[in-house]
């Protein structure tokens, strides 16, 4: 059963690894991805993530369950923050646990590609000059996610 949370608070990567692996001896490999707020050249002052309360967490729970089934995972954690985040802050955490490394790495890749293209979040950037703009969905992200549909 996957752990899925949509929250404003930061997450603790070490604590989430510990929670996922506690008392287990069947896990051989854990893949993980952490997305953070990137600022190029002090251009960005903050990023605000808007969610769709209810739908967002349901969609994340569904794809985490799909990843567990598809890659025969032994466990999975998906945490996505929303609200106003400053450069360097954590945005998203994915952990996928498996008996072997390949499914753990593949599931991590699958989940972050899906989150980038299909999770109901919208990002607004606030710039150092006082302006702000909504981030456009990136075609490259759609293409990365489409690979999984072809592979499935």
């Amino acid at each position: 059963m996957a752990t899925v949370r949509v929250q404003t608070e930061d997450f603790d990567v070490g604590a989430e690894f510990a929670a996922l692996t506690a008392g287990r001896h069947d896990i051989g490999g854990l893949g993980c991805f952490v997305g953070t707020v990137r600022d190029e050249g002090n251009r960005l002052s903050a990023l605000t993530l808007e969610q769709y309360p209810g739908m967002t967490e349901r969609a994340l729970a569904r794809v985490a369950a799909e990843a567990e089934r598809r890659f025969s995972l032994l466990g999975c954690t998906v945490i996505h923050r929303h609200g106003r985040l400053e450069p360097g802050a954590n945005i998203v955490l994915v952990i996928a646990a498996s008996g072997h490394r390949q499914p753990a790495l593949d599931a991590t890749h699958f989940l972050i590609d899906w989150l980038k293209t299909s999770a109901p979040f919208w990002k607004k950037e606030e710039y150092a000059d006082g302006t702000a703009a909504w981030v456009d969905a990136r075609k490259a992200d759609d293409e990365a996610a489409a690979r999984w549909q072809r592979a499935g």
Binding site: H80, V92, I112, L115, T117, A119, K124, V135
Partner: protein, 89 residues
């Protein structure tokens, strides 16, 4: 659609900013059957809605918190959300 049926309409991201509403309850006429019909009808509500729905190609929709298509049929009491393409992760 039931001519006396209400819909809850939600707007996210720049659709929320352009319409000036996060949520509204609307009572469309019976001629509004699908999501595409609802968009056409909402456009007529005023200049802010017209501006928000000007480019339908970049608008996504969910009905009762499931992604929906322009052809998706609506029913009284549905929660219909409009938003731009998502940018999570």
């Amino acid at each position: 659609m039931d001519p006396h049926g209400d819909l809850t309409v939600l707007y996210f991201a720049w659709l929320r900013e352009r319409t000036g509403a996060a949520e509204e309850t609307v009572t469309p006429p019976a001629s509004v059957v699908t999501v595409a019909d609802l968009i056409a009808w909402l456009r007529e509500r005023g200049p802010r809605h017209a501006a928000a729905f000007a480019d339908a190609k970049v608008i996504r929709c969910a009905v009762n918190q499931e992604f929906a298509a322009p052809e998706t049929e609506l029913h009284a009491g549905d929660e219909v959300a409009f938003f731009p393409p998502v940018t999570g992760g």
